[in-house]
């Protein structure tokens, strides 16, 4: 991997190589979500990538899952 590619990735992420490596994935997720002002989104890119995705188009957010669990547990309404 060339030095130029690393520099381009640093420019893209706004972090140094060292900072990217040091930061934990959950801290990164929290920081970027805060910066963007919305929770991180999961996407499905099959068949461009992936080798057979079993999830189909039914990706669900944590908030949706929590809402359903709360309903099942009758914590809401």
């Amino acid at each position: 991997m060339t030095k130029t590619l690393i520099q381009r990735l640093e420019r893209l992420t706004g972090q140094s190589h060292e900072e990217i490596s040091q930061e934990t994935l959950s801290a990164k997720r929290r920081r970027i979500s805060q910066q963007k002002g919305k929770p991180m989104k999961f996407t499905r890119n099959y068949p461009l990538i992936g080798r057979g995705c079993v999830l189909g188009d039914n990706l669900r957010s944590t908030a949706e899952l929590n809402r359903e669990i709360d309903e099942l547990l009758q914590l809401q309404g």
């Binding site: 381009r8 990735l9 490596s21 991180m40 996407t43 995705c53």
Partner: protein, 200 residues
Amino acid sequence: MTEEKAPKTFPELFYFYQNRVKLFYAAVQAENELPTEILFELNASLDHLSRHYIYGEDEAQVVSKAFSHMKRACLDVFKITLRETLVKVEELKKIDISLIDNGDFEPQLKQLIHKIKEGATEARQLEGDTLSAADDDEVPAFKRWIPVYEDCLTVQQDFYLHKSVDWAKKKSKWISVKALVISSVISALIGAGITWALGG
């Protein structure tokens, strides 16, 4: 260690993870979106690593398996970036970029796109050719994708975000507005002419 040398031990594998995989992962995550397919590959890596401790599988063997999944996760990042780049290129094609950088911008962009498409085609063909891999765990296309990925970032950063692109967009918009006004005036004049000719 370089990516040309496959890791054999846990420290070597984690060096690859921290210095390659995590950089590409961060590039995708910068958009606040994570493709699930990448996560599946990383989960598969973790599963192989755990098998050394739980089922006593050989370190070199689980490292090799985990390494191939990590490389596939990277391949996913490269392909997503290629798609994004080509979408951005299509946006650039809709505006008049012929005057940027004294006319050098457009041919340079075209040359780079050609290089990207050639490189990506070659990498994809290699990916599909399992016979060229020494064993099923190898991902020979990985090395071929790296320069393609770098070129994609070049298009995004040096061309799509070029300071004169905004000027070209405004110019193209102004030309469209001007064309619309002229065609409206001509239509109105023709309409008036027809009305006059019919003796209205």
